[in-house]
Amino acid sequence: MMAEHYPTIPQCAAVATALKVLLWPSYRSTDFEVHRNWLAITNSLPLKEWYYEKTSEWTLDYPPFFAYFEWLLSRGAQYADNGMLAVKDLNYASWETVYYQRATVILTELVLVYALYLYAQSSPPGTKRQSHAAAISILLSPGLLIIDHIHFQYNGFLYGILILSIVLARKSSGLLASGIVFAALLCFKHIYLYLAPAYFVYLLRTYCLGPRSIFHIQFLNCIKLGLSIIVVAGLAFGPFVYYEQIPQVLERLFPFSRGLCHAYWAPNVWAMYSFTDRVLIYAAPYLKLPVDASAVQSVTRGLVGDTSFAVLPNITPRATFILTLGTQIPALIKLFLRPNWYNFVATTTLCAYASFLFGWHVHEKAILLVIIPFSLIALKDRRHLGAFRPLAVAGHVSLFPLLFTTPEFPVKVAYTIFWLIGFLLAFDRLAPASPNPRYFLFDRFSLLYIAIAIPLIAYCSLGHSLVFGAKYEFLPLMFISSYSAVGVVASWVGFLVVFFTS
């Protein structure tokens, strides 16, 4: 029998569950009402009206598997409180409704627990301790706690499916299953499309093409994979093809009318770009640059939903798309040439980085898309850990503005600091030395970077309101996202170096 590592995954899950249940009465965002509305829609309307219903402004805009998932949850919901299933009862939130919806988040997260357990089990003998620590770090992630158990979403469940698919890809016998699971995941939430290039290249190279020569095409495997994906897609979209509603479904899934930056800025390149633009507004008269007066207006009002730039050129969706794909391609080429599991996870992470940093209308919550796959390989050696560290700090700090109510402030800060101290120290002990030399400067940078976080959080949460009161509310948000953007970009550059030099 193998040695058990402590604390075990179930032990962590048990204690975390206690905290999550106690969080039930905490602040919940409009996402709670969004999901309640979807429960009501899927429960009380026939399937063909699901993607047309618009009584609530929170229309169904996730792919069909998620709608089926909501339908399944709504079956149980009627025993908790039938009131939550009425489409017309907007913002219905009885205690039973809250308890029920919150409880479903905790229960469906068991998928994540199981996937992490498989991940720790399936790791090679020499890396068991590291994998165990990484698994626990994901399980206890402050990101999931903040987004799922306070803000309200089902990311634990969805990332559980993602990790399941990544773990399945470890063995060549699991490649087909991995592809199927990932296809299913896409039919739950299409944000995972960002990771699809890595899956496409990896499955193409390892499953559809021969191991020795790429010209040795394995037709049987191609057919199996293709058929499976068609079946999965058919299960999801079939009914809507039958009702001829596909354009309407796609319209809901991909609303391109939204702005470049989300209402809260995701800490990506565009946040730095806007920050530069805002600084340039004041510098423009000296530099003799033309300033777009109407854009200045929107800037000073602190409106960030629909971003137009005053000095710098505006950004089109096409530009973001080209940038995203362009930054993904080098890693994809490396994966194609050296298709192993490590390169696959690393490329998945890099795809997530590229989409997060350059994507159109990125949510700050999407940072989990980077953090979670990266966590799986962050303990490979000390160089990886060096690149992971600023991401761990920046990614989680950037989620702070999601919770702006007073009671939740100590929770997000204390829990995140707890996690950072615990896991950064543990990772530091566990990560083995790298065969390649480290970059001294980069380590210094990450130490300095982490140190800045403390005064920044203090300013944004307390100092700003003491100095300015309710004025310039966008300023703390801008600082946090710019700060976080620096960290995410730095960790991206660091990881690119690590990936292409190892």
Binding site: M1, A3, E4, Y6, P7, T8, Q11, A14, V15, A18, L19, V21, L22, L23, W24, P25, S26, T406, P407, P410, V411, A414, Y415, I417, F418, I421, G422, L425, A426, R429
Partner: protein
Amino acid sequence: MPPHTPGSYRPRKKRTASELASASSNGTVSLDLPTKREKPAFPLAAFFWPIKGTPVSQWVVLSMILMAVGLFRWVTGFWQYSGYQTPPMHGDFEAQRHWMELTVHLPVTHWYFHDLQWWGLDYPPLTAYHSWILGMLGTYIQPDWFALYLSRRSDDEGLKVFMRATVIVSELAVFIPAAILCIRQLARLHNINSWESAIALTAFLMQPATILIDHGHFQYNTVMLGFQLASLASMLAGRRLWSCVFFVSALGFKQMALFYAPAVAAYLAGSCIFPRIDIARFIGMAIITVASFAALFLPLLLGTAFDVYRGIPLPADAQAPPLLPAIPFEIPETAWYQPYVVQLLQAIHRIFPFARGLFEDKVANIWCAVHASGIHKLTVYDSTTLSRASLVLTLAAITPPCAILFFRPRANLIPLAFAATAWAFFLCGFQVHEKNVLLPLLPMTLLLGTSEGMKPAIRAWVGYANLLGCFTMFPLLTRDGLRIPYAVLTLLWAYLLALPPFSLSAYAPSASEGGPHWFSKVAHLSSFIVMLGWHAVVAFVEPPKDKPDLWVVANVMLGAAGFGLCYLWCLWRLVGESGLLSVFERKAKQVEKKRQ
């Protein structure tokens, strides 16, 4: 190097890596028989496993522990508090808020007289000063929360956050440092390594009963309990004068600290006589105690002086304190000292409600169990008889532990003797609330930090007392709307310490292997089964129409019986540890020989 001053300077004990890695002394580690590997004996130890034997800074460990226990406290505060939107009287939350309101706005002479029908101040002066400070702070943030008269029954969300934060801050200021010190002193006394003592500290701070009452129901018990802990820590460290100061502070914050008074007195008095008579020590402690009491009442008297100087009369509806006629000499209305005497007497009158009944509501002590179960209705006696009976029975029950502590004033007996004394008060005392179970639980839970404290025999009893204590507060917590936090925190603690209903591991070893006595096993396991059954019944079955309190009575009966066992167990262990009886003495010697 700091200059070496004899007397006050103590070299700090350096903890070496070899000591950190030393074998378990108090039961956090067990051996996995098939593989011969060490493994954590219960889940809480598993969470400390990664730092076992590693040179992680104690400060990092401590700050992580505090963040974790702080998080559980804060999120418990998200739930309702006592009296939330329940007219007419609301509850303890309104009482505490009201005291802040009245201390902030009224002259000091009115504090103990103001509108006694609406949560009149009936705690000792330290609570009043504490309320004043918090009230000033709160008024600075939002004056509406404490506006005189207008703020009554306020259920503002911001107010709730503020009040919850004051509980945490008060606890951080008093209870937490005291708990850290106390567990450290115990570790030094019993030679326990810092890793195990960190586990004991976490278990102690996660005690569900304290969290539920202070952060759920809403009270400031941890301030009083914290002073008491500081007093215990001072005793363990041999700093008797400080222990007097802290005990007076505990008493000055909440009169319930009287539960401990006989044990404090027995230990301190005993330490002046045994092993040799030390008059100077006794006089020193007497002076410090009197001075502490004087300091406690000084702000009240200074405030009175100020009000006399300003010529502020007492409120119109103020009645002279009933204790005034009891004074053997006449006090003229015009005497200069009359206002001070009135204030002191009124404070004492308010603090000690002699006129109230023997017990309030349903509490798991002897009186309520005898009365409510119908064995013997106590309403046939008048209150004087009952209070005398209560006094006699309490005295009888506290005499054995206090006598032992008096004749053998040794530091290692302190937790057991204090627990036994407090149990005696809880079971036999006058005017006991269900929440007072926190008092005996405090020293009893400290046992986890003593030698062999987390081995099955003691862990089972500490766990039993705590879980039963929470169980008896279930009716109260249900009224407060705290059923879910009750379930979560109680089950979490039971899980972390591997207690029923999650694990029977504490009951597996036989008595000779360090497990509990067979009688304890039977008593505990049957109690746990009854507790689980009781919860099932309460959840699904309505009580009979003519006996609406039947379930509560059953709860009280089980609680009283179980607490009685806890008292007896503490006493029995105390007798054993003290080595007073020659039988035990011989046994102790044998054990000692074995150890050597």
